[in-house]
Symmetry: C2
Subunit: 152 residues, 2 copies
DNA sequence: TTCAAATAATTGAAAATTCATGTTATGACT
DNA sequence: AGTCATAACATGAATTTTCAATTATTTGAA
């Protein structure tokens, strides 16, 4: 009946980095399964959701959707072929390429957002409001610290 | 000089799932770069570290290292070829395959663990002891909740 | 006991990712 | 203006991952 271990989770590590990775995958698993049932890759969801807020340059978008730039370039080729996003060159900089959703892409994003928000509500139910607030604050702080100026 | 945006992080989402994913990647980035300098894939580190605690079956290990089974199977082929791990069949169940480190694998794990621990210390410096404790507790709770019995 | 369903792991073909490099555009400095 | 370093994105080849079977073993129900 049980696929996993009996009562204790197999938990070899206590590293914060590991707990974050594991929490990330397990918390997202259900929503990702939902996307999968709809035949939508996670990257597609992230990309259309991001650019429907605001057009983004490729490298900026790569940072947001947590992909490497060449991976994203190729994902964009696919999404462009599906008519979900468009690449746009602007006058301010001729090397930047801005990505924006097509009407179809925007509709897809709008269709998925309520599902994402519902999932968010479900997740937050596992925490008290205070815990949730502190958790998010801690995560934002870690992100801010580790992402500030990567001129290494 | 700055690769990223000027002063604010590009932060389109406030979903906990997204903050977890982003915190996970940004917190781990430095350690992952260190592994990369050593020519060691992240998966190799995770696998040898996991099995040097305790031999694990393939599916159990897949859960721990956050990989899908087929992905892990093939990663194990590579690690076995490099002489870092061994597959072992036991009497208790002839379909399970246990993975354990070779001497070389164990040495690799022992060499990397201090680096991981050092990284952990660095990360924890960003939080007060109380914050760190609460953060880990919240993460463990989320993990426990979302991983308990996936008999869906 | 027997047989169908479930579990554990592997495999092969297709798809996506990665690494290194290529191309073009900017910026800075002389 | 000319040169050099850097930034932004794309691309090709190699590697890895994924999806959908397949094989082998175990469970359990009739």
């Amino acid at each position: 009946m049980k696929t996993q271990e009996q009562d204790t989770l197999a938990y070899p590590f206590d590293y914060l980095a590991y707990l974050l990775a594991r929490a990330s995958t397990s918390v997202s698993a259900e929503f990702h399964r939902e996307l999968r049932r709809l035949g939508i890759p996670v990257s597609t969801w992230r990309i259309v959701a991001s650019v429907s807020e605001k057009a983004r340059s490729v490298s900026e978008l790569a940072g947001i959707v947590l992909m490497q730039q060449p991976t994203l370039s190729k994902a964009l080729d696919r999404l462009e072929a599906q008519g979900l996003v468009e690449r746009e060159r602007r006058e301010d900089s001729r090397r930047k390429v801005y990505v924006k959703p097509t009407e179809k892409g925007r509709m897809l994003a709008e269709r998925l957002k309520p599902k994402a928000q519902l999932h968010e509500q479900e997740v937050l139910k596992e925490l008290t409001p205070d815990e949730a607030r502190k958790l998010k604050a801690a995560l934002r702080r870690l992100i801010r610290h580790y992402e500030r100026d990567n001129s290494t």
